[in-house]
């Protein structure tokens, strides 16, 4: 049995925020992070607030960009032809989370709020320029995803707040995206390194916009802004890619873990950024 707790089951966002403020309870979505931590008593909570009864947090809409509720499971993005085609990097991230059982249960909102440096949906959402809609007892606020993380497993969410939705602007024509997840085994492994890229090409094939996000390369998911700026107006030739690998390596601050040494992660950052950029570029040209 899990360590004993009290279970609350709100049906509206307002009710959930109030409960969180009053009980200091832990929000529960798919539970694939929380319940794993609770088994064996590693983590204990007096109160769990199950969000799954809140309809407002479910479903996604692609009319004007992508607007998805925090409870959207990874599986829904994995199985959406539109997400695969337009938000390819996000598809590649969500479809590589855990196993089918985990993707059916685990939510993208939970992946974001758990704030693990390795979370597979976060890098792709960062390069698409996603914004978090946060609901709290005092109302709503919007925070760019790039400012959502304050440290490993830490977010800007306040005492009464929860993640309500995520807004992702539509990728423009002439853009392409890609996510590369490096793991030691092909199934059921957390990313040893994750690289996400989004590029927009102009009519001459030069880079107009480049966004690069690195996961498991620093205590929180980060954008490689130096490399992004350097890329503007360039074409991806060998000299440019050589510069890029040095620039991203400078911004990465990986640590050594049992999965890999920091030195190896730096080499991965260099190589995989180059490969992922190339793939995003090919997709922007409609070649891949």
């Amino acid at each position: 049995m899990l360590p004993a707790f009290e279970l609350l089951t709100p049906t509206t966002i307002a009710e959930a925020c109030k409960m969180k403020l009053e009980t200091k309870g832990k929000l529960l979505a798919g539970g694939t992070d929380i319940l794993v931590g609770m088994h064996g008593g590693k983590e204990r909570y007096e109160t769990l607030i199950d969000l799954k009864g809140i309809e407002e947090l479910k479903g996604f809409d692609t009319k004007d960009g992508l607007d998805f509720g925090a409870l959207t499971p990874h599986r829904e993005f994995e199985q959406s032809a539109l997400i695969k085609e337009r938000y390819t990097a996000l598809y590649e991230g969500c479809s590589q989370v855990g196993s089918s059982q985990i993707r059916i249960r685990g939510t993208v909102g939970g992946n974001i709020c758990n704030a693990a440096p390795s979370a597979d949906s976060i890098g792709p959402l960062l390069v698409f320029g996603a914004t978090c809609v946060i609901a709290g007892a005092d109302g709503r606020r919007e925070v760019p995803l790039s400012e959502f993380f304050t440290g490993p497993k830490k977010t800007v969410l306040g005492e009464s707040e929860l993640l309500e939705r995520v807004l992702v602007p539509s990728p423009v024509n002439g853009s392409g995206s890609a996510y590369t997840k490096y793991t030691r085994r092909r199934a059921m492994d957390l990313a040893l390194l994750g690289v996400s890229c989004y590029v927009v090409l102009d009519a001459k094939g030069k880079i107009e916009v480049a966004r690069i996000a690195l996961t498991t390369a620093a205590p929180t998911p980060i954008r490689a802004t130096n490399a992004e700026e350097f890329l503007v107006g360039k074409t991806l030739d060998d000299a440019v890619l050589g510069e890029i690998s040095e620039l991203v390596a400078k911004q990465a601050k990986p640590r050594s873990s049992w999965r890999s040494s920091a030195e190896f992660r730096i080499e991965l950052v260099k190589e995989l950024t180059v490969r992922t950029l190339r793939l995003a570029e090919e997709r922007a040209k409609g070649e891949a």
């Binding site: 899990l2 609350l8 694939t32 319940l35 794993v36 199950d50 089918s100 059982q101 985990i102 059921m188």
Partner: protein, 159 residues
């Protein structure tokens, strides 16, 4: 609340029980209902031995609270066969030699069943990806994959 009375349909039968909210569905099935076909290997979502189908979707019952089964339909391995008569998928596992110790088999069969229902024409790669959350320590997977491919073929009516 710390306890709740739930009404769950398991393998077509309705059960009403008052249970602690901290009980997992895997524990509920095994300890409350005596349905020990559902195995607990890791309690962490890694091994898939506890996989059951809830309202059509395969889930790790070690990571589902039993109270969530309230009003839901749960299918466990006990509900797959018709009494002593095996489901064709189970027979396919036997015929392919896809079972050794059998610990992974209930979860594997339920994952495979959901997979074939969703996609009766899977490629081998799709079958491999589909069972990535089910660990087998004995068979080396190839015969399990054969069994699933054979059953999918049968379902499509090619065989």
């Amino acid at each position: 609340m710390t306890h709740k009375t739930i009404k769950a349909t398991v393998n077509g039968e309705v059960y009403e029980r008052t249970i602690p909210v901290c009980m997992t569905l895997a524990e509920f099935l095994r300890e409350e209902l005596g349905l020990t076909g559902t195995k607990i290997g890791c309690n962490e979502g890694e091994c898939g031995a506890c996989t059951v189908i809830i309202s059509g979707k395969p889930m790790n019952s070690c990571l589902v609270l039993a109270v969530e089964a309230d009003g839901a339909e749960v299918l466990t391995i006990e509900g797959v066969s018709q009494g002593e008569k095996l489901h064709p998928l189970q027979q396919a596992f036997l015929d392919a030699g896809a079972i050794q110790c059998g610990f992974c088999t209930p979860g594997m069969v339920l994952t495979a069943k959901a997979l074939i229902e969703e996609n009766p024409n899977p490629t081998e790669a799709e079958v491999r990806k589909g069972i990535e959350g089910n660990i087998c320590r004995c068979t080396g997977y190839n015969r399990i994959i054969d069994a699933i491919m054979n059953e999918a073929e049968r379902v499509r009516g090619d065989k």
